[in-house]
């Protein structure tokens, strides 16, 4: 896969894995309204994944479509960031993960609408509206939980603490990003960090929460070095395709 195809693949993998994780909540959320909204976000992410992965397959030109990419790769070939594959944990941990990611994704997609690749720009233009809603929804929950009860505050702090080591990876640039920028197709993610910090800090302040202390980043997702969690997620997600090779659904 060349750099531009890989670029699309990474975007698709982020959305796919996050959508898969959020789908785990369906039917089990703390309130009916929350069930509806988490399913909504999951659905948006699965939709984005479908577009990005189909594009990655088309750019690769070897006959793989989004389904082939989603259901027939092993851990080492997945390129999502480590943040999105983290387990749901309790509701606060789920909110922490979505909070950190949704703001990143909104900034990224906003910039990506200017991509010279018309297909990437079109997907981003559609997805950025969805992501803006996710960022608003999840920020409201961070504020409610942070400035709610003692228990919710403690859980929100623990959720952020779990996720914080995976933040830096979102903004790391490598040769794939460099090639995509060179071609006028990709986004300079490192340039998004300032705006992301401002957004996160503003919400945390409203939630009366401290920003977690900087820590040593855990990296590797983009090059297939994942957490132990991803293999289990994939074995569940890919079960039917693996058990019935060659069948269509």
């Amino acid at each position: 896969m060349d750099a531009i195809a890989t670029y699309a693949l990474r975007l698709g993998d982020d959305s796919l894995i996050l959508g898969q994780r959020l789908g785990e909540w369906c039917g089990h959320a703390p309130a009916l309204e929350v069930d509806l909204s988490l399913a909504n976000v999951a659905l948006d992410q699965i939709g984005q994944a479908t577009h990005f992965l189909n594009l990655a397959g088309a750019l690769e030109g070897e006959g793989r479509d989004g389904d082939k990419l989603a259901f027939h790769r092993d851990v080492m070939d997945f390129t999502n960031c480590l943040l999105v594959e983290q387990p749901n944990g309790d509701f606060a941990q789920t909110i922490a993960r979505l909070f950190l990611f949704a703001h990143y994704q909104e900034l990224l997609f906003t910039a990506l609408t200017a991509s010279k690749d018309a297909r990437l720009a079109a997907i981003a233009a559609k997805a950025v509206k969805e992501t803006a809603y996710h960022a608003t929804l999840v920020s409201d929950w961070v504020v409610r939980l942070g400035d709610g009860t003692e228990e919710s505050r403690a859980r929100m702090i623990a959720g952020l603490d779990w996720m914080w080591r995976f933040v830096d990876e979102l903004f790391v640039m490598d040769e794939v990003d460099a090639a995509a920028i060179e071609a006028g197709v990709g986004v300079d993610k490192s340039a998004l960090r300032g705006a992301w910090d401002q957004r996160i800090d503003a919400v945390l302040a409203d939630a009366t929460l401290e920003r977690p202390a900087a820590r040593r980043p855990v990296l590797g997702g983009r090059s297939g070095r994942h957490s132990e969690h991803l293999g289990h997620l994939l074995s569940e997600m890919q079960f039917l395709q693996r058990a019935y090779p060659g069948a269509t659904w």
Partner: protein
């Protein structure tokens, strides 16, 4: 989804003992007989109110519990398109639950009270959800058969006498009809697939057929509330009428995709212009109503766990709202 009225017998008698102004009752009966909608602020007999709260909350609970068997396959849906469709479908069920709880609340019972009744085992939900979803074909079978049966039950409810319920049903019916087609499309695809997929589809039909027929509730001669509900136009067709209609529509659909309905007694009756079919196992039905369905314990356990695990979240939202309201007041 839909649940028939699964309440015990004889409740009506105690309710009827409450004296109500005969003139008000007569005026109410006349409006209902005239097919007028009854609205939340209108006078209504207490028994009508109670019957509606029972039926609407059972219906809402069925939507919510019904999310579980299908939710069981969201993470394992076989491709991206099926995953998105299933997520959207289960989300629709949550939405239906929400409209129905809201419509039921207009009768003076809060959503929390209704939820409490579900979790304590006091309120019922449709027996169908106490059967497990074992394979992907079950997702097809549920959409095709369970939503298909639900539509039979629900289309007449769009003209039910209580306005908020009837209006909620208009939207719900549109979505259910979409779900039914999606389910049938899954089955079509499996039935035209590999041998293993065909086997999966037939097995799902074998397991879901009879429980689907049970969804219409007990036979008419054993349905304690049917007569009054028909008079009040809360219900517009009898259980047996709807069951027959479902069989007549569904059997040709099974034949069209090469699946066999698991009923040796099934036979087209030229004279009646309808299918004759075998006896439903009512002993099983009543056992499942009583909570003895194969996965009844798992379903209730999942609902109770979601409710209890979520308590701190709901508390936090409430406390936060109070804090903000107090701060706003202080600033004024």
């Amino acid at each position: 989804m839909y649940t028939t009225d699964l309440s015990g017998k004889g409740k009506g008698k105690a309710e009827a003992a409450v004296a109500e102004d005969p003139a008000l009752v007569a005026a109410f009966e006349a409006r209902v007989a005239n097919d007028e909608f009854i609205e939340p602020k209108d006078w209504m007999p207490e028994a009508y109110r109670k019957t509606l709260v029972r039926q609407m909350s059972q219906h809402a609970h069925s939507e919510i519990v019904g999310m579980l068997p299908e939710g069981n396959w969201i993470t394992r849906a076989p491709n991206l398109r099926r995953k998105a469709i299933l997520l959207a479908k289960v989300q629709d069920e949550a939405g239906h639950g929400l409209y129905l709880y809201s419509a039921a609340e207009t009768l003076g019972t809060s959503r929390d009270e209704m939820t409490e009744a579900l979790l304590s085992g006091k309120a019922k939900y449709s027996t169908i959800f106490n059967y497990p979803t074992l394979t992907w074909a079950d997702i097809g079978a549920i959409g095709w058969l369970v939503d298909g049966a639900a539509i039979m039950n629900q289309v007449p409810l769009q003209r039910t006498s209580y306005g908020p319920y009837a209006r909620a049903m208009v939207r719900i019916c549109k979505e259910e009809s979409f779900h039914q087609r999606q389910g049938y499309e899954i089955m079509m695809h499996l039935a035209a697939g590999t041998e293993a997929q065909k086997r999966m589809a037939q097995d799902a039909l074998n397991r879901w057929w009879w429980p689907s027929l049970m969804m219409f509730g007990p036979p008419d001669d054993k349905s304690p509330n049917t007569e009054q509900s028909m008079r009040w136009r809360i219900k517009r067709d009898t259980n047996d009428e709807l069951r027959q209609k479902f069989v007549d529509i569904t059997v040709p659909q099974a034949e069209a995709i090469g699946l066999t309905v698991p009923d040796a007694a099934l036979k087209w009756n030229e004279e009646r212009g309808a299918y004759d079919f075998g006896d439903v196992d009512w002993e099983e039905f009543y056992a499942v109503v009583k909570g003895e369905g194969p996965v009844a314990k798992e379903r209730m356990q999942a609902r109770v766990k979601a409710w209890e695990d979520g308590a701190w979240v709901r508390d936090a939202a409430r406390v936060h709202a109070e804090k903000r309201a107090a701060a706003k007041l202080a600033a004024e």
